[in-house]
């Protein structure tokens, strides 16, 4: 009788291919070139990171009340702390700042249920947000009714103004953009030509010239006596500019809808507006939500340009504070703070748009 064959136990894999060592070898030192690149990258990090940490945290000053309290040679965060209210609200009267907070919190509270799947009456909530909220926010911020003292728009500023411009720009640009996109795909040559001209014109010029135009040319276009507020002029410029970009995004969605959908809707006897509103747009807009969010991110970053026509958004107010004789030489701290705020907003939105893209993509996978 022969012994049943018993294989020897497996040898452990070579040390260099598993565990931390294996990971390092595979991902950082797989070839001489890669090893060199890794070392170069490590050296760059060594050059950048320790000084930055030392400047921003280890040697930074956090407590104090004036420039003289910044003695340790690192970042002077005292500056940001003292000016924070101004950076957020601009020159909005201190006693009235709760109104800004309320106007910003309200949509967030109403919007939260929109993100919870299965919440009833979402359509109503959305309509509330789009139609009723702007009116409430307008009266909250400008005042002059119900015993709220009026606040001139020239006192608005800081992050609040950035949010107002981007929010209003977006809300106005979306419907306008949808109409333009529909017009561009229309069968009627005159309508199509008008829409194409409008879109290509606004897309071809830089936002700065548009802002220049709205601030110096708009007063010439209007009849005697009609005078627009500076902020309103900027808003008109931003909305028109952004609607052209929005139109191109929406057009992308419209083009992705197969012809069969149109034909099926027509076969059911739907007219143009019902076909568009009930069949085409719901599908097309769903496809381009990431594109819309990206346009919004671009708009959010572009709001900084209003500094050119003398409005004080977040960047402008930081820039202004850095030229204050009491706080000279602290521009870097101001820029870092503003960059951090903008970055947080934009990065969150872009991540959200990416997540949304993945979630919405499922319906079209076969």
């Amino acid at each position: 009788m022969t012994e049943p064959h018993k294989p020897l136990p497996d040898l452990p894999p070579p040390v260099a291919t598993v565990g931390v060592l294996g990971w390092l070898r595979r991902h950082l030192f797989s070839s001489p070139l890669n090893a060199a690149l890794t070392l170069l990258a490590l050296y760059m990090l060594y050059l950048i990171i320790p000084p930055v940490i030392e400047w921003a945290f280890l040697k930074a000053d956090w407590q104090g009340a004036s420039r003289d309290d910044c003695v340790s040679g690192g970042a002077c965060w005292v500056f940001i702390r003292i000016r924070l209210d101004q950076f957020l609200y601009g020159f909005y009267p201190e006693a009235e700042r709760w109104r800004v907070n309320a106007a910003l919190l309200l949509p967030v509270l109403v919007a939260i249920p929109l993100f919870i799947s299965g919440f009833p009456r979402k359509l109503w909530l959305g309509a509330l947000l789009l139609l009723v909220y702007p009116v409430i926010a307008f009266y909250l911020l400008t005042g002059g009714v119900l015993g709220l003292p009026a606040v001139e728009t020239s006192q608005w500023g800081g992050l609040m103004l950035t949010l107002v411009i981007s929010g209003v720009g977006m809300t106005a640009a979306l419907p306008l953009g949808i109409l333009l996109a529909l017009g561009r795909r229309s069968q009627m040559p005159v309508i199509r030509a008008l829409c194409v001209t409008f879109i290509e014109f606004w897309r071809g010029v830089p936002l700065i010239t548009v802002l220049f135009m709205s601030s110096v040319m708009l007063p010439l276009f209007l009849p005697e006596g009609v005078n627009f507020d500076k902020l309103l002029r900027a808003l008109i410029g931003v909305a028109l500019f952004e609607s052209a970009y929005m139109a191109e995004v929406v057009r992308g969605g419209l083009q992705a809808i197969p012809k069969g959908q149109y034909e099926a809707a027509m076969a059911l006897g739907l007219g143009y507006w019902r076909m568009t509103g009930l069949v085409i747009l719901p599908q097309a807009l769903k496809l381009v939500i990431p594109g819309i969010v990206n346009t919004f991110i671009a708009l959010f970053k572009d709001t900084t340009l209003v500094i050119i026509i003398g409005l004080f958004d977040l960047l402008a107010i930081v820039q202004n504070a850095a030229t204050d004789p009491n706080w000279l030489g602290l521009a870097i701290e101001g820029y870092v703070f503003a960059a951090l705020v903008f970055w947080l907003f934009c990065f969150t939105m872009s991540r959200y748009s990416q997540a949304l893209e993945q979630r919405l993509h499922t319906g079209h996978k076969r």
Binding site: M44, G204, F221
Partner: protein, 395 residues
């Protein structure tokens, strides 16, 4: 009875329900609306201009400007006309855009490829770069480079220098300037001849391989031609090139090429910002070529270098080029942010200073917008032409 039914033509809908009539009516209404609105604006403008006593027409372009411009690529003085100011501004805009396009493309391609690297650290660093720089407003970056970096460098006497040839101080960046001496023309001519020779050589090699099957490797031969011919010409004419180095004289540098800090800040910020977008485009383009293409090329016996050159890159470029050109267009339009740091570009000197001096807002803004529209039109024409050329030929 059946006959009667056949004879009846279906009742025509009333004319207001006829789609064709409706379409025409809508268009006529839209056209009338737009024309009326335009006329309303035009009329208001006429009245306003008359009441405010603002001159109209383009006559102002030939009147003298009376202000100086710190950087001009063509001769310019304070007595030059507003029309001259326009050209100075336009050339400055094109200079920023051109430099920005070159640097942004280089940086963008490097970072985009680094993001796909198998090296974990390099890929992560590239991702961090992209996520940081594309989510911070461009204007903030320009301010950072201009006010926080270039306004904080030392005065000319304590300049930062690189091997005593490149100097950086608060007045700007100073680079050595090439000085071409007579006889230098031979070198570029030789280079041109080398390019023609390489072209002919490759055609000959291609024909030989087709007819006889014997390959001829043109790589080293082309390299030798391209480097050797100009070098020979350069040596034969007695090295007719010298460098004019910037030198500290008194309080400032003389000689060399002086790059004003506004230009340096603008080009740096524009390149870094746009490179983040270009990197994403490059990554997407390379990833759009399916891995099956690489495998198919390998199974045909192509080596990795050839696979990259003949299979991957041509297909990736088809995806990359259209969004890339639109990034170039964005960069050109973004260069108008120069106005914020007073770099004398078109918007800053023409739509800024000239507009303030003459008050002729309509003409000035119209000219400025027309320039940008022309540039964007030219770029989109190029893009359409390119798209047609590289579009997949489907059977």
């Amino acid at each position: 009875m059946a006959q009667a039914q056949h004879g009846v033509t279906p009742a025509r809908p009333p004319f207001w329900n006829d789609p064709n009539v409706r379409a025409i009516a809508f268009q006529v209404i839209a056209l009338i609306g737009v024309v009326a609105f335009g006329w309303y604006l035009f009329d208001n403008t006429q009245t306003n201009l008359r009441q405010r006593g603002i001159a109209t027409g383009f006559g102002f372009l030939s009147s003298p400007s009376g202000f100086g411009i710190i950087q001009h690529l063509i001769p310019y003085s304070e007595s030059a006309s507003y029309g001259r100011v326009f050209w100075v501004g336009l050339l400055n805009t094109l200079l920023v855009a051109g430099l920005g396009v070159v640097f942004a493309t280089l940086l963008g391609f490097i970072i985009g490829i680094a993001r796909l690297s198998k090296n974990w650290l390099v890929a992560r660093l590239a991702t961090v770069y992209i996520e940081v720089f594309r989510n911070i407003p461009l204007l903030l970056q320009i301010f950072f480079w201009y006010f926080a970096v270039l306004r904080a460098v030392p005065s000319p006497r304590q300049s930062l220098s690189l091997g005593d040839t490149v100097f950086l101080n608060i007045r700007g960046l100073y680079l050595p300037k090439p000085v071409f001496e007579p006889g230098f023309w031979a070198t570029p001519v030789a280079l041109l001849a080398a390019v023609v020779a390489v072209f002919l050589l490759r055609r000959w090699a291609h024909r030989r391989q087709k007819t006889t099957g014997k390959p001829f490797h043109t790589g080293y031969a082309s390299l030798a031609l391209l480097l050797g011919l100009p070098a020979l010409a350069f040596a034969a004419t007695g090295f007719p090139l010298s460098w004019d180095y910037p030198e500290l004289q008194g309080f400032n540098f003389r000689g060399g090429i002086a790059v004003i800090p506004e230009l340096a800040a603008l080009v740096t910020a524009l390149s870094i910002y746009t490179a983040a977008f270009i990197a994403e485009i490059v990554r997407a383009g390379i990833q759009a070529v399916s891995h099956g293409q690489t495998e198919a090329a390998y199974s045909l016996g192509l080596r990795p270098g050839l696979t990259l050159r003949l299979v991957i890159i041509p297909q990736a470029l088809r995806v990359i080029i259209p969004p890339l050109t639109s990034q170039y267009l964005n960069l050109t339009k973004n260069s108008s942010l120069a106005a914020a740091i007073a770099y004398p570009d078109l918007v800053s000197v023409f739509a800024g200073t000239v507009l303030n001096q003459t008050g002729q807002a309509i003409e000035v803004i119209a000219i400025t917008m027309a320039v940008y529209l022309t540039i964007s039109l030219l770029i989109s024409l190029f893009m359409n032409w390119y798209n047609r050329r590289v579009a997949l030929v489907e059977r």
